[in-house]
């Protein structure tokens, strides 16, 4: 081998190395992509993050989430009527939205995948407030890793699950309220709103009671059921005997009624949902057909002039004799 041969060979080898290096880089990228995508696919199918590799999240952490109202819309509210309103407003919003979509084919889109999704802003808003609709993934950041919450996909088809998860949050809150019924009565939180409270003196004690329950108020009326710190809630034994079981029963009824109403709504909605895919195809087919019909109409208009056009120029075609 001459020096020149060596140089040429070496140059060739060097280029091969670069090429090999590129293949290696590409392979690594592909492997990362595959790892990432398989995680999402499995996440989609199973409703959890995967349990291995990069960005893992414990599936048990998701599934075994405690039955509590933490991070839900209900977290900071203790009055049962207020809770019911929050719940019903949430339900009404997403159910009305869905009814409207199903009633209005002009909202249906004919694309595939995300491009075929109708507008579901209310459903997304509800899912955003549901801790169960998020999972956490680790992602590298500078020299370490951080955990970021990722919202699970919200599609038109996610409705039943999101609504059921919202229901779960509500029922958990109601059972928390049942556990704490004594404490809530002691804070006048069981009294139906709107109500006003004030400070009264009764015998040798002074305290905060509902205005409708007392004669003369000693302080200005307030909507704060606990009045203020100088005037703590005044309760009699008869209040406890009456109001604690009532609150308990109220929460129990509400748990059952809301659950049954939700199930009836889901069942009734089901008929429309199972036919939505086919109905959408019909509507999309009809849209394409209308376009075709209009084009055919235009073509028919143009064609009606054809004999005239062909009669006009004798140089390019003949009149048959």
């Amino acid at each position: 081998m001459t020096i020149r041969d060596f140089i040429i060979t070496g140059w060739h080898d060097g280029r091969r190395m670069v090429v090999r290096h590129r293949i290696l880089v590409l392979t690594i990228i592909v492997m990362f992509a595959a790892a990432g995508s398989s995680r999402f696919v499995r996440g989609n199918i199973l409703g959890t993050g995967s349990s291995g590799g990069l960005g893992n999240s414990s599936s048990s952490e998701q599934s075994l989430r405690a039955c509590d109202s933490k991070d839900t819309r209900f977290e900071d509210v203790q009055n049962i009527d207020e809770l019911r309103n929050i719940y019903r407003q949430g339900m009404t919003a997403v159910v009305s939205e869905r009814e409207k979509i199903l009633k209005t084919p002009s909202l249906w889109k004919c694309g595939l995948g995300a491009a075929g999704e109708p507008p579901i802003a209310e459903l997304r808003a509800l899912a955003a407030d549901i801790p169960g609709w998020h999972y956490r993934v680790d992602t590298s950041f500078l020299f370490g890793a951080v955990t970021v919450p990722v919202q699970r996909p919200v599609t038109f088809a996610s409705f039943a699950s999101i609504v059921a998860e919202f229901q779960r949050g509500y029922e958990c809150k109601l059972s928390e309220l049942q556990d704490r019924n004594l404490a809530e009565v002691a804070l006048n939180n069981d009294i139906e709103k709107p109500a006003q409270f004030c400070c009264v003196t009764a015998g040798d004690s002074q305290g905060c009671r509902e205005q409708a329950d007392v004669g003369i108020c000693e302080t200005p009326l307030t909507t704060n059921p606990a009045c203020n710190e100088q005037c703590p809630v005044l309760l009699y034994m008869s209040d406890l005997a009456r109001r604690v079981p009532a609150l308990h029963q109220n929460a129990l009824d509400e748990r059952e009624i809301s659950r049954v109403a939700m199930e009836r709504m889901l069942s009734t909605m089901r008929s429309f949902e199972v036919n939505y895919a086919v109905a959408r195809q019909f509507v999309c087919y009809q849209r394409a057909s209308l376009d075709l019909k209009n084009e055919m109409s235009l073509l028919a208009d143009a064609v009606s002039c054809m004999p005239k056009i062909w009669d006009a120029v004798t140089s390019i075609h003949d009149k048959k004799q």
């Binding site: 509210v77 009734t268 036919n275 394409a288 209308l290 054809m306 004999p307 062909w310």
Partner: protein, 614 residues
Amino acid sequence: MIGSLSPALAYAALPYSGDSMFDLFYDELRSNYSNSKPSQRIADFIIKEMESWSDRGISITADDIDLAIAGMLFLDSDDGLCQNKNDMSGDAYDFAVGGTLVPGSCIGLQNDILALLNAEQEIEHLGTDLITLANSAELSIADEPHRPLDMALYTLLVRRVWSGTGASVIPWDGGIDGVRTPLDEKFDDLNNDLAGLSLQDLDEAVLRFHHGYFRDEREADPRFDDVQTLIHDDLRDLAEKLGITGDPEAVGVFSTPSLTAKNIAFWARRDDLGLMWIYPSHVFRMEIKVADEYPEMVDDGDNLAYPFGYEGSSPPSALGIASPLCSRMLGREGYLCRPMPKTVENCDNTGDGSSITLVKCSEEVTTTESGPLICPGFENLFMDTGLPLEDPADPGHLNPALTKADYAKICSPERKIMYQDDITSNACYIALCLQQSMSGHTLVPNRNPVAINEATSPYLACIRPDPQLGLYTEIAEDSPYPLPEYLGQFLVRDFERQYCAKNGDAPQPLFGLCGYNDNENASFGIDNPLMNSNVTSDLHIRLQERGAEFNAIAASIGQRVALDQSIELERKMFARLAHFIQHIADLFLQLERAPLTQSACPWTGMFRSSEPSS
């Protein structure tokens, strides 16, 4: 709490009232919930049953039922449940002394009232569950207006675009900007009368007129004679204004305004008109009678949907539309509503109808000797003589007074042609025009009349070659109107959702969530994934194990489902498409029979090589 507004500010604490489907169920549940005031119907039932209580019967009122619930048996004011009661003959009732087991005791009365109340409420609850189950499968295919997702309407609209035929929607002849037409005024009467009814009265009205005012007239069920006669008269007046006479064969649906009363709708078709629940939310029970009088079951009913005979005054002649189901727009075309075939055209019909027999059929094929055959059997192009296309006496149908166009001169100058604006008619017109043009002219190859712009070309093909030959030839583009994509994966998902629903599980948001086998069915119910986290995580593990298997079968299932659905639902539509394509194909195939010129330049002889002409 995620979000910036404090909940107390964001959600005002007023009694909530929404108008979604959910609110309908919630409000109804709350008002009928046990331990609250019983419904009027249940109260009436209990009062009636108590008339034969113990040996002498006891006369009670709805207030007494409330006292029984509250446990107020004896009050200082002497109006407790067991005070001042009379038996059915009007004598004062003396309660026996003793507990629940002693006949005629006070506690026994309270006990019996509460037992009846609970039993009735339980039955109502079960009835509602039953109707909810039926709703979950049938509402969107019930072929009734005022609901989401009207499958029947979508099917008919597609058919109409392609063929111009099929049932039509007739607009409501109402006023705008607050102006009320006479028809509107009749509707207002109905609306106001309904708005004044109690829930129980509404139940009665819907029960009587759900399947139509004229059906009610024909069937003449004696139990309905005195039920909601005011609504009966309102519907009669509306029928008169709408020109509905009760002809069961008339087809077409009116678009009707919404009623003020919640969850109730007024419907009108050209054969009948009536009321309906938008979302049936409970079962209404009338006094139960043995069903031996009406309607009468007959052994040889002519269709599957309604094997009943008519006892009413004027049974419809076509028994296929005898049942309420079969009188609906699309329903009447379903297989349940078709009469069972007795004889089939072009077949030897040797069977006697009582057994399965193989019959021999022949099909006639029509052939023509010469000339193109365009739009065979299609007679929807007419002379425009000033007559309307639509029959004024029968909206949605062609005017029988129209004159058929001369198909040989369809595009001749001054010829006015009229036809429905649908795809098939347009295609037929185009095809006939092409045929006429082709039969009157011959083409010179490689020339584009539009590019020449009606001028004589200096480069006549027969004289000298055209230097720009081919320059104006346009490349054919793909059709700009593609048929919609095949949505196979949506059908797979759709199938799986039906699969879930069938097995009592809620529709799942993501593909693959609904696994199924017999032993696990019970634990897959809706409560478990919600409330029992152990089951949920267990579910995930089992699904993980089963995922691959399920994915593999899903593809083939999906294909099968897609095929089945296409065949069932789109058969008519694609039949039209096939006809259309057949017509176009026919046109081009038949063109070769047209007497086209054989030589390039028939007036100068054969084509010659380039030579300057003078």
